[in-house]
Each structure stands twice: as structure tokens, then as C-alpha cells.
């Protein structure tokens, strides 16, 4: 039955003003398959999904569902047709409970006037239980990004859909959560549900999907069975050239220095982390690993004075730092890239250039505090080029960019101040393979030039690939560190979850 085509899209185009997001795309989805879509940032993946879900209307082209041509005019219509969509950006109601959020979608598709809320809630909880052990009665806004993402997924699972679209669902998930999701996906596929799975992670595509389609610049390049190709074929099709080295070269042994850029002693905020001590040596990239909720972000936010009050000592280049607030921190060249891009990373409705200059406006202003828009554009242009930002015009709002390009804007914003020490929380979330290795290379160059780099990531291969040393945090304490050949996923997971402390593997 594998060959039944459920959804067929032919010659579909969509433009946003001058930007041609989709140009005559063809796409075919079979019954019961998990179909991966790969493509660079801005290739048009999310746009096509938004068209299938009725959020956007195509300029031209056809959508054929079960052999009949359909016009999907709204997300409600899409739901009625059996299409479920987990968005790239989280869109939940923060002030209501998890359970209510989950069955919200359901109240929407029901045609009856009266709702059996008890039954709905029970169903919601049942679905949710398979995914996670979060209490369904807590408010969504109190959850971490990863847990919010799980709620978003659960929401789509409650709809009895025939086609399930997942747009980068694992970008915010931990490894274990992602594995649970894959198991559920496989079960759904076996029940005959077709799944469209968008991801920038080749491993996920190759471990879990049946077929893969590659998009480039709004066009369909190729569709193949996953078992017939390898990751490098897909990557090459995506970028249109050959990418050989995914991760930059590590720091050479002879380049190692004992000079500490950052030294942290007995840092604690009395609530979420305790007694944290570590040092960052010149030229190295330090990773911080740990389960979600272990306190990784809190530690670095504490160092930059972004959140809560901390006790303990922080030394920058050997001199004690007494930072009063985050403004102080920026003035000292210490900056933080937030893990929540949409929530606190970018100004969605402001121009790209104004986003990039936000950290230190003085740089684009003259002596009298007047912003020179020429200087501002030049700054944005230079950093945009460096990060390979894909955009129409630098005065367009950030909301017009694809997810990965928004992340590049957030990164450009930090680089704009020539920082001395950068904390990056999930720096490549949603960024495509090419740009990702580009970002990694930039980080390595910065480290080489003496800028301190600390990377937090839930993606272990990324930590292992870019970092010279990885600290592992468990329940608010540093439970150990790994370096060199000992940097393996097993060792890190072991330190992140097992109880015997101080099991440092050198």
C-alpha cells in the first residue's frame, strides 16, 4: 500500500512582494510514509507547509488531496481535511493550562455546539502522557521551551489527522524526548498516517524517515528513498555544492594556553544552581551540557546578571568583575545569546538593521547621539554577509525572514559589539547545515582571536564537534567534565544523568 499517493502538489508558486519563496514546486506524499524535507534556511519549506495548512494562499499551482483538487482556504479547513501542523515557532496560549491548550485545537474542528470538556481533557491527558510526564494542569508559560514544544506536538496528535506536518519539531527537544517522538511517529505511520518531517539534522532524517525531498531556492530538487542515498548526497543537493568538513578543526595541542579568560568561583544563586566553579582558557571553546532544566542557562544568565542575584566570584582576564546588571555586562564585552529567539532574541516587527544595532547604538551614532542610518545599514550589511544572511532588504522587518535567518540576525546582534566573551544558548537552533558549519567556523575564528566562547547545546554531536572541552551540569551543579577523546555522547549522558558526583573523565 506504500504507493498510494495521498497528497500531490504540482507547480505551486508563492511570492512575498519581490521575494519568490516557492517557484513551481512539485511534491508528492504517500500514505503511511514519513517524508523528510531538507533545504537551506529560506528554501521555502515552511512556506509550503503554510500553504498546505491554509495559512497562506498560493499564487498559482494545484493541491490534489486523495485525487481531488482542493482549495485550502484556512487552517480550520485544513483541520477538517485531516491535516495537522506543528509549527516551527511555538504558538500556544501562555496563560492557560497545558491540557486546555492541547484540546483547544479540538474544540475548533468539532462541528457540534456542545463540548464534552471532561472527555476532551481526558483524551488530552492520555495523549500527553505518552510524550512526557509534565503535569497537564500547569500553565504553559511556566514551562521551558522544550516542554512547550512537546505541548505543541501533543496538540497536533489529538486531532485525528491523516497528514501530520512537523516543522523542525526537535530543534528544541532533548535527545531522549526526540527519541520518544520518533517512536510515536513510526507508530502513526504504521497506522497509515502520512507524516511530513522538516529538519536540518541529517541523522534524524536518515534514522527515521522513508523518503527525503530536497528544496533549494523555492524549487524541488530531488526526492529519493532514504536507503538509496547518504547524508552527504542530501547536503550537496541542498546547497548545490560539496560540503566536506562539517565541523571546524579543533584547537591544536600546542596552542593551548593556561591563561584564563573567564574564571568562575563558587557561583550560586541559592535556588537553581550551587557552587559552580570553572575556568575558560584562552583560545578554547567550552561547552556546557546537561538535561533541560539542569540549570545550564541559569548559570550563564547569572554570570551576565541577566536574571536573579548571584553570589560568588567572576574574574575576567584575571580581574574580578563586579557587574551590577546586564548593561554593565555588555559594557564589559560579555554578551548572551538567548535560547528563545522569538520571545527575547529579536524584535520581530522592527527592521533587520535596527535589530542588529540594538546592543550598542552608540556604534552607529555620531557624537551627539544621532543614529546615522548609513552606518547602521553598513553594519548590518557587513555582519549579514559574514553570516550569509538571506533577506530581501535590510530595512524589512525580521518577521519576514525564515526561522534560520532570524537566528542569524540574533547572532549578528551579538557580534556587532565585538564581544570579549560570548555565551551562546543553542546557537544553531533551526540553522541549516551549511550556515551551521559557517557559524561554527566563525566561533572557532573568534576563539582563535582570543574571544571567550561558551556554548550551551542540547545537540550533543554539535557540542562534541565544536567544543574543546565540555562541562556537564546536573541539578544545578557541575557533575563533571570531558575533553579530547573522552568527549562522547555516552560519557556526557552518563554525567548528565547518573548520581555519582565528581566522576570527571579526563
Amino acid at each position: 500500500m506504500q504507493d498510494d499517493v495521498i497528497l500531490n502538489i504540482s507547480n505551486l508558486s508563492k511570492s512575498f512582494g519581490p521575494v519568490k519563496a516557492l517557484r513551481g514546486i512539485d511534491f508528492e506524499l504517500r500514505k503511511g510514509e514519513i517524508h523528510a524535507i531538507a533545504g537551506e534556511n529560506g528554501a521555502g519549506k515552511s512556506t509550503l507547509m503554510n500553504v498546505i495548512d491554509g495559512i497562506l494562499q498560493p499564487d498559482s499551482g494545484q493541491i490534489i488531496l486523495d485525487g481531488a483538487s482542493v482549495k485550502i482556504t484556512s487552517p480550520t479547513k485544513a483541520q477538517r481535511l485531516g491535516i495537522g501542523f506543528v509549527h516551527q515557532e511555538i504558538a500556544l496560549c501562555p496563560d492557560v493550562s497545558v491540557a486546555e491548550n492541547i484540546f483547544m485545537a479540538k474544540t475548533n474542528v468539532s462541528r457540534s455546539w456542545l463540548m464534552d470538556y471532561r472527555k476532551l481533557e481526558r483524551e488530552a491527558i492520555d495523549v500527553f502522557k505518552q510524550l512526557s510526564d509534565i503535569d497537564p494542569s500547569v500553565l504553559v508559560k511556566s514551562l521551558s521551551i522544550s516542554n512547550q514544544q512537546l505541548v505543541e506536538i501533543a496538540k497536533a496528535l489529538t486531532l485525528d489527522c491523516r497528514i501530520l506536518i512537523l516543522d523542525e519539531p526537535t530543534a528544541a527537544l532533548t535527545e531522549a524526548e526526540a527519541q520518544t517522538l520518533f517512536a510515536i511517529m513510526r507508530r502513526l505511520a504504521d497506522q497509515g498516517i502520512s507524516i511530513i518531517y522538516i529538519s536540518h539534522r541529517m541523522v534524524e532524517i536518515f534514522d527515521n524517515c522513508d523518503r527525503v525531498s530536497v528544496f533549494r531556492d523555492g524549487q524541488h530538487i530531488v526526492t529519493q528513498n532514504v536507503k538509496d542515498v547518504g547524508p552527504s548526497d542530501v547536503v550537496n543537493a541542498m546547497v548545490g555544492r560539496v560540503i566536506d568538513e562539517l565541523y571546524p578543526e579543533k584547537q591544536r595541542a600546542e596552542a593551548r594556553s593556561d591563561e584564563a579568560i573567564l574564571e568562575v568561583r563558587n557561583l550560586s544563586d541559592a535556588k537553581r544552581f550551587h557552587d559552580v566553579s570553572f575556568a575558560l582558557k584562552r583560545g578554547e571553546i567550552l561547552g556546557i551540557a546537561g538535561l533541560i532544566g539542569a540549570g545550564r542557562s541559569e548559570i550563564v544568565k547569572g554570570i551576565c546578571q541577566l536574571e536573579g542575584s548571584v553570589s560568588g566570584d567572576v574574574l575576567l582576564n584575571g580581574t574580578p568583575l563586579k557587574l551590577k546588571n546586564y548593561q554593565d555586562s555588555i559594557a564589559n564585552g560579555i554578551v548572551y545569546l538567548s535560547e528563545d529567539r522569538k520571545g527575547d532574541g529579536v524584535f520581530l516587527d522592527l527592521p533587520i538593521a535596527a535589530n542588529i544595532s540594538a546592543l550598542k547604538l552608540e556604534q552607529v551614532a555620531n557624537g551627539m547621539g544621532l543614529i546615522q542610518s548609513g552606518a547602521e545599514m553598513a553594519q548590518a550589511d557587513a555582519l549579514g554577509r559574514k553570516l550569509n544572511l538571506k533577506c530581501g532588504s535590510l530595512s524589512d522587518p525580521v518577521s519576514s525572514l525564515s526561522g534560520g535567518n532570524q537566528q542569524k540576525v540574533a547572532l549578528a546582534k551579538l557580534l556587532s559589539v565585538n564581544p570579549r566573551l560570548i555565551f551562546l544558548d543553542e546557537p544553531t537552533r533551526g540553522v541549516d547545515v551549511g550556515a551551521k558549519s559557517e557559524i561554527h567556523r566563525i566561533l572557532r575564528d573568534l576563539a582563535h582571536d582570543g574571544v571567550g566562547i561558551v556554548v550551551i547545546s542540547s545537540e550533543l554531536p554539535e557540542l562534541i564537534g565544536v567544543c574543546d572541552r565540555v562541562l556537564v551540569v546536573r541539578e544545578g551543579r557541575i557533575s563533571g567534565q570531558v575533553a579530547g577523546d573522552a568527549m562522547t555522547e555516552e560519557n556526557i549522558m552518563h554525567l548528565a544523568s547518573v548520581m555519582d558526583a565528581d566522576a570527571a573523565v579526563a
Binding site: Y326, Q327, S338, A353, A358, A365, M377, D396
Partner: protein, 333 residues
């Protein structure tokens, strides 16, 4: 998007800068100017009295002082706040200055004290919003009622006649330089100064950041609470300034002045492109909004439309203007 025009519309030197006429078309202000000119054109045929010097002068006097209020409101809206107390606080500024003057204080000193008091009221509201964490809407609603009550308390509910105001003081409200009323000059100075500052200074750019996404602004090292506190205070201070000018113009202090004025001011700012969600707006647009509303009012009066109908028509125009603008912007985005 609108904010694009506000932040990068003027003097943008970028490689991909659109041709001048295209940029002009993209600017929200252009649409408003066209509507205003159209109305102007129609009215000059509809009423022989419309295009007279006296009418032009009366009309510009009417929007000039409100224009100062709308400057403060627009900046506050951009930062994500709102102020319902502008009408009452303007009246209070008048009443306090008038009362102090009648108790024998020099009118200039009295005005200074009164404006300072308004600044204090703004700081008071700013405190409740930024420190206690209440919403602008509810805090300013309460202050609106309190300030109105204070006006009545000081005057016993009757207008204060200030016949003895010295002529050099009345001059700010009634005098002219050549053919141009002083009020218009003051108005232009405020508008040009604030429009320039809002477009160009780093200080006011932070207002946009704060209103667009307060958390992201905090994560960019901006003291968002301070920004909101200051925009709230500025709005009330400008109410003080407007109140004093009104007093000099009328030669009296009226405790019931400005009932419902807050709605006109907010409407003008929104017609001119300010978003109630914060993060966008422009002074030029807001001023055009004031001009449009005042043009409509005086046209309706000239055409002898009944007062009851005037309100209905004004409300409908507000709805129409905002709707058209919404669609134009969507098209552009």
C-alpha cells in the same frame, strides 16, 4: 511595515534603497496627506467660508495644542503604554496654574509649578506601572478620575476667570509673529524637535525596542523600566505644557476642559500609524491624524451638521481610516 518607514524611512542610504517615489508611496503618511488634501478640496467648494484666513487660523489653533498632546501620546504608545488621563491632567494644569495665579503668584512661576506637578503625576503613574507592575490602562484610568476630581475641588466646579493675566503671558496663547500665531510656532517647534529625535536619536530608538519586545530589549541591555517610566512622565509633562497654553489662550481655567479629549488624542495617534501593541508610530503621522480629525470637526460645523450626527460621523471616520490603513499595510507587508 509601518515601523520600517519610521526607523529607516528618512535618509536611508543603503545599496538597495528604492527609488524616491516608491519610498514615498510606501510611507504611511502619504495616504493621510492625500485624504486630507481631498477633504480640503471638497470643503473649499462646499463652504464659501472654509478657505478664509479666519477659518484657517481657527482650525490650526484648534489642532496646534492638541498636537503637543499627541506627541506625548505617540511616544508613550510606541513604548507600549497608553494614557487615558491626558484630558484631565491638561485641565488640572490649567486649574492649578490659574488658582496659584489668583492667590498672588507670578503667572510664569505658577505655570512652572503646574508643569512640574504634571511631571509628578506622570512619575506617579510610571511608578505604579514599572514598580508595582500594574497596567497603564488601569493606572491612567484611575488618575483620569482623580485629576478631574482635583480640578473640581480647586475651582468649586466653576471656571476661574483670569482677567488680570499680564498681556505678555496671554501673548503665548493669543499673540502672533507677523501673521502667524505663537501657538502655531510653539507647536511646530515641538513637532519638528520630537519627530527628529524619534527618528534619529539613540535615546528614542530605545523606545521602539522596548515597545516592540520588552523582553528582547532587556536582553539587549536596555533599561526597559526606565524607558517606560520616562515616556509615561513625558506624556504628562506635555499635558502640563498644553494646559498652560490653553490657559493663556482662553484667559480662564476651566475644570471641565478636555472631557473626552484622551480619545481624540489616542485616535489621532492610531490613525497616524501608532500601534496599540507598541513598537511603531510616528510623530508626523500622528500630527496628520490630529489635522484630519480637526478638519473633519470644523467641516461638519461649517456644514451645519447637527452635533449628534457629528459624533456619529467622527466615529465612523475613525473606523474607516484605521481599516483602510490596516489593509494598505497588509498589502505592503
Amino acid at each position: 511595515m509601518d515601523s520600517t518607514a519610521n526607523l529607516a524611512g528618512e535618509g536611508t542610504v543603503s545599496a538597495e534603497a528604492a527609488p524616491f517615489y516608491k519610498r514615498l508611496l510606501r510611507m504611511r503618511e502619504t495616504g493621510l496627506i492625500v485624504i486630507i488634501l481631498g477633504l480640503f478640496f471638497i470643503m473649499s467648494f462646499a463652504s464659501p467660508y472654509f478657505l478664509t484666513w479666519a477659518n484657517m487660523r481657527a482650525m490650526s489653533m484648534a489642532f496646534a495644542v492638541d498636537g503637543i498632546l499627541v506627541v506625548g501620546m505617540t511616544i508613550l504608545l510606541i513604548s507600549g503604554g497608553i494614557d487615558l488621563s491626558v484630558g484631565s491632567v491638561t485641565a488640572l494644569a490649567m486649574v492649578i496654574a490659574g488658582w496659584l495665579f489668583l492667590s498672588g503668584i507670578d503667572p510664569w512661576v505658577a505655570s512652572g509649578i503646574s508643569i512640574a506637578l504634571c511631571t509628578g503625576i506622570g512619575a506617579f503613574m510610571g511608578f505604579f506601572v514599572t514598580r508595582i507592575g500594574l497596567h497603564h490602562f488601569i493606572v491612567s484610568l484611575a488618575v483620569m478620575v482623580i485629576a478631574r476630581g482635583a480640578c473640581l475641588l480647586f475651582t468649586g466646579g466653576r471656571p476661574l476667570g483670569l482677567y488680570t493675566l499680564p498681556p505678555e503671558f496671554k501673548f503665548i496663547g493669543q499673540g502672533t509673529i507677523g501673521p502667524i500665531p505663537i501657538v502655531i510656532v510653539i507647536f511646530l517647534v515641538f513637532v519638528i524637535a520630537f519627530d527628529f529625535m524619534l527618528r534619529r536619536t539613540t535615546m528614542f530608538r530605545k523606545v521602539f525596542y522596548t515597545g516592540s519586545n520588552e523582553k528582547a530589549a532587556a536582553y539587549s541591555g536596555i533599561r526597559t523600566k526606565k524607558v517606560i517610566f520616562l515616556t509615561t512622565t513625558l506624556c504628562s509633562t506635555l499635558c502640563g505644557v498644553a494646559g498652560i497654553i490653553y490657559m493663556a489662550r482662553f484667559g480662564s481655567a476651566q475644570p471641565t476642559f478636555g472631557l473626552g479629549l484622551e480619545l481624540t488624542i489616542i485616535a489621532a495617534a492610531v490613525i497616524g500609524g501608532a500601534s496599540l501593541n507598541g513598537g511603531s508610530g510616528s510623530i508626523l503621522g500622528a500630527i496628520l491624524g490630529v489635522i484630519l480629525l480637526s478638519l473633519v470637526s470644523s467641516s461638519l460645523a461649517l456644514l451645519d451638521v447637527s452635533v449628534y450626527w457629528q459624533d456619529i460621523i467622527r466615529g465612523s471616520i475613525l473606523l474607516a481610516a484605521v481599516t483602510i490603513d490596516h489593509y494598505l499595510n497588509k498589502r505592503r507587508a
